[in-house]
Amino acid sequence: MNGIPAPAPAPRVWPMYRSLVGVGLLCGLLIVSVFELTRPVIQRNQAEALERAILQVLPEAVSSRTFRLVDQARFEALDGKPGGAPLAHAGYDADRRLVGLALEAQGMGYQDVIRLIYGYSFSEQAVIGIRVLESRETPGLGDRIETDPGFLENFERLDVSLADDLTRILHPVEAVKHGAKEHPWQVDGITGATISSVAIADILRRSTEEWIPRIHRSLDDFRVAE
């Protein structure tokens, strides 16, 4: 039997199991404990951030109330009840008059899903502000959708007026090349962030086409706070 090396001793399995399972259990316990401890604070932070975003995209509003769509037909105030999606946040001025709605929308960007909130003004029949809530667009390029003043100017008054029968947007939102904007329903793109800026216009077009006619049909539901 000369020349055949002796087999290496097999590694002991039990210490490996003990190590991985033991450390895994301890780590799991630690993560769950920290999650439970921080959850209420994180939820409060998220609620405050949402409230700030609503008031930012509806500058005339001083308070807001969240509604959810029930049976695809009417809106019901949540008032602290658990919601789910889709949600609409109604903004009211100091006299408790309905001034507009803040709506959340999302769609695919260049890197990942972009989630945003936009304000809709009833008096102007226009989008009057947007704020990106979540995006992983390329730093320095795609993330200019959040910071480029020229791009954000598009949403100071982006026309989404309804046709006379209130069933459709007269001119759906569309993206155009930078510098080619001619109409108030067009979004002037960003050179160097074309996909991200077109994605914002697409998200707004889809969301406004779906929601604005529906909201106008159920306008009285939002006036409960007036």
Partner: protein, 217 residues
């Protein structure tokens, strides 16, 4: 990376100081470049990322050195990653509780601390062979060295790129920001500048310590 650590059991100040200067993770070992370049566009982001990394490095070094006699070498890397990922998840939750805006600014780079080679490197090269006390000193030194380096990068980039420091404007209206400095390429420019300065200083120290010797190239 070679560690020339002494084998006495008591932590020494040398373990702490080497990470700050002689073996600085960014300026000497050039480790953890991804977060160092990506989130150092403002001093605030750089400081937050540095402190998050310091926490993960400190906790994982202490836990890994405490467990070093119980973890078989075949599964040591898997165990280290498990421990590091746990503390990164904790940092993620705590940051969300402290400030959602800061959490959003740091984005995916918080989760990517798991694969920061500085942390796994210290676990494998130091914590797995030394006591918890010495590993804590090593982690504090390396973590503070990393934080200081990120802050140096972030401060230069924010001052030149935005004309501000920690969000406070430093110049009059006439200042024209160098936008390139807050873009990704600005990270490389700032890093090159600091590496130049750091190496020049180290070379000068070496020359002063042994005037007859040739300067290091």
């Amino acid at each position: 990376m070679v560690d020339s650590f002494p084998h006495e059991e008591t932590p020494s100040t040398d373990e702490f100081i080497k990470g700050l200067w002689r073996e600085n993770p960014v300026f000497v070992q050039v480790l953890g470049m991804c977060p160092a370049l990506a989130v150092s566009n403002t001093a605030r982001n750089a400081l937050a990322m540095g402190l998050a990394t310091l926490f993960v490095l400190l906790m994982s070094n202490v836990v890994i050195s405490s467990l070093r006699r119980f973890v078989p070498k075949e599964v040591r890397i898997a165990t280290y990653i498990l421990v590091i990922a746990t503390f990164v998840t904790i940092v993620d939750y705590v940051l969300q509780a402290i400030s959602l805006d800061l959490h959003k600014a740091l984005g995916a780079f918080i989760s990517l601390i798991v694969v920061n080679c500085l942390i796994l490197g210290r676990a494998e090269a130091f914590a797995s062979k030394n006591t918890a006390g010495k590993s804590a000193m090593d982690a504090l030194g390396m973590g503070l060295g990393f934080t200081a380096a990120l802050l140096s990068l972030g401060a230069v980039r924010e001052i030149l790129g935005s004309g501000a420091l920690f969000g406070l404007p430093l110049f009059h209206d006439g200042f024209q920001p160098w936008v390139v400095m807050i873009l990704p390429s600005g990270g490389f420019f700032a890093l090159a500048g600091w590496l130049l300065l750091f190496n020049a200083l180290q070379e000068r120290r070496a020359r002063l310590a042994s005037p007859a010797a040739e300067p290091m190239r």
